[in-house]
Amino acid sequence: MVGTVTSQGGALGSAGDSDGWVEELFYSFFKSLVGKDVVVELKNDLSICGTLHSVDQYLNIKLTDISVTDPEKYPHMLSVKNCFIRGSVVRYVQLPADEVDTQLLQDAARKEALQQKQ
């Protein structure tokens, strides 16, 4: 069968390293939210509610038990329970405020910014 699969991203730099590899702050942030309910708004204006199943370094998102939040002018999604959303098409990821430790996030962002300066 046709198919070559390469593992996601080869060498994953360790989070927050000063070796110039891409920032992984949001990747780590989303990983901490796995299992929570989120609403993903896409650039094509489609909004999808679901449970965050997994995320990867490209911030591709997998959701389970999805429902289209806006009025169902998107009938094609009726028989879909789980989906994979390409990171590049996400506009927003909406989360309830109590799921986010903003203090922790701010500290992590500051650390990341410092390390990137070096």
Partner: protein, 135 residues
């Protein structure tokens, strides 16, 4: 036998050989069996059908094997085969759905023309967002 090399990471590997719905950036909907993937979310779909929805009606155009470049993929949804047979939608012939689509596009175009003219009359315009992939 499910091996996950990087636990917690989104992977399409388990989705292989399952029936999927793919939404493309140009608004098209493809349905087919996922046979191959890569890190760019390039896809190979087998026994693909292009499904056109107009209102509560839909029509399927057989397309064979599709290789989809990842940047065009909006989302990939696993089709639940039980829910699929439970649909309130009505399947019609290809000719009928294409006609319905033509009528729908025409109405949209006319509404758009009016809007653009109204904006133009006020000295405004909508910039086109031809998106480039960032990776």
């Amino acid at each position: 036998l499910k091996m996950n090399y990087m636990p917690g990471t989104a992977s399409l590997i388990e989705d292989i050989d399952k029936k999927h719905l793919v939404l493309l950036r140009d608004g098209r909907t493809l349905i087919g069996f996922l046979r191959s993937i890569d890190q760019f979310a390039n896809l190979v779909l087998h026994q693909t059908v292009e499904r056109i929805h107009v209102g509560k009606k839909y029509g399927d155009i057989p397309r064979g094997i599709f290789v989809v470049r990842g940047e065009n993929v909006v989302l990939l949804g696993e089709i639940d085969l039980e829910k699929e047979s439970d649909t309130p939608l009505q399947q019609v012939s290809i000719e009928e759905i294409l006609e319905e689509q033509r009528v729908e596009q025409q109405t949209k175009l006319e509404a758009e023309k009016l809007k653009v003219q109204a904006l133009k009359d006020r000295g405004l315009s909508i910039p086109r967002a031809d998106t480039l992939d960032e990776y």
